[in-house]
Amino acid sequence: MSFNRFDQAKPFFTLGIIVFAWLLLPVAVKSFLRVAFFELQAPVQVTASYVRDLQEFWAERTHSKDELIEAARELRHVYAGYEFQAQQTDAEQAEITRLERLLRLPADPHFRFEPARVCRRDLSGWWQQLTIRKGSNYDLPVGAPVVYGGGVVGRVREVRAYEADVDLVSSPRLRIAATFENDTRPVSYQGGNNPPLAPAHGLVEFVPPDIVVYSSAPRRLVTSGLGEFPPGLTIGYVSHLETSPDGLFQAGEISLDPRLTELTEVTVLVPLQTD
């Protein structure tokens, strides 16, 4: 009888041992297991990503020569515009450097731009993350800002040998110090309110009470330059603010760019060591 009872309890006894052993296991061993099991599945994810690239390549090869000539003509116009803007940027950068030296201001951080392909999108209600196809092999640091044409993508959370995980700007795990466009006072941004079958939203808090936004003319929220993100990068647009329960500040929702969920290529800003 007692043997039967033990027989019934043995699975739970085994579970207890497993849980106890796992909790007692040193963090170094858990980290090693995490890396080992990730690298086990990484080749499949990367291969799937390359297969998608190949599909895209063959799909683009179906375009006719006329379409390609038309696209090249449009690109030439865009390129001419960008060339002019690049010259202006160089001149402005030189002026900034001159003023920094003159006023003995600390220099703005400089970055190396590292483009990377997205190999996995994992956007659930619990977390919102991308896996990119570059890691410590390109010296990507943890915490590096990730951007794209529309502004902020997120921040590098974990770097592996050949991949890195990025917390998306829509992830509840990401907080950024931000400012409203043409305003210098910092506010707090956090991702998180992600409705089903709709574009992601974020939350803005600690907004000074004198800032006013209208739903007909949403205001752009940009990075403040405090923290790892350079200033002026678009986070999203705020169209509605409400007074927070303490009455001292305002809080509201931010509409994020719908393109965030379809990204195939991003740029990691790797901080450069400066004197």
Binding site: I18, W22, K30, F37, N194
Partner: protein
Amino acid sequence: MYRRWLIVFATTLLLWLLVGQVNHYLAPFGVSISVGGLLVAFAALRLNLRNGLTATILIALTVDAAEPVPEVGHHLLYGPHLLLFTSVHILIFHLRTRFPREEMLFGLGTALLANLAIFLGLSFIYIELDAHSASGATSLRLLADLGWSQLFILAVAPWFFSLQQRALELGQVDLADESHRFY
């Protein structure tokens, strides 16, 4: 002997990787699928304790490796999937003798219930306990994701159970004999 857990682990790994690809394509629509219950159900229902638990622990570690580590208090809680998957596995294993566990319909029901339990457990860890969780309303998204996940399991579970059974047969594992073994 090692073939049993290795075969079941390989098939669950295949499903996990396929679901990862599905989620990649569903991301622009604001939909995400979670199939934790399906990863555990077959091993818990059809294998003995040692083989089934080994396969479940391996797949749980694989899932944990690809997902963020929640921060509870000031400590990182490694292995939330490991803790949930093994707990659900043991519970199914304990109850399985009372039910017709070799029937597809029962397996399907078990996978759905196990998935519900794991989904609620993960939601509790990542929303209630995690220091990074947002204060915004995420319950609607979670509810929708749970609904999509259950529908997905309904659709693929018969195929997946058959795949695991066939893979074990190809590995010359006698499932009838396996059913009589407790440990």
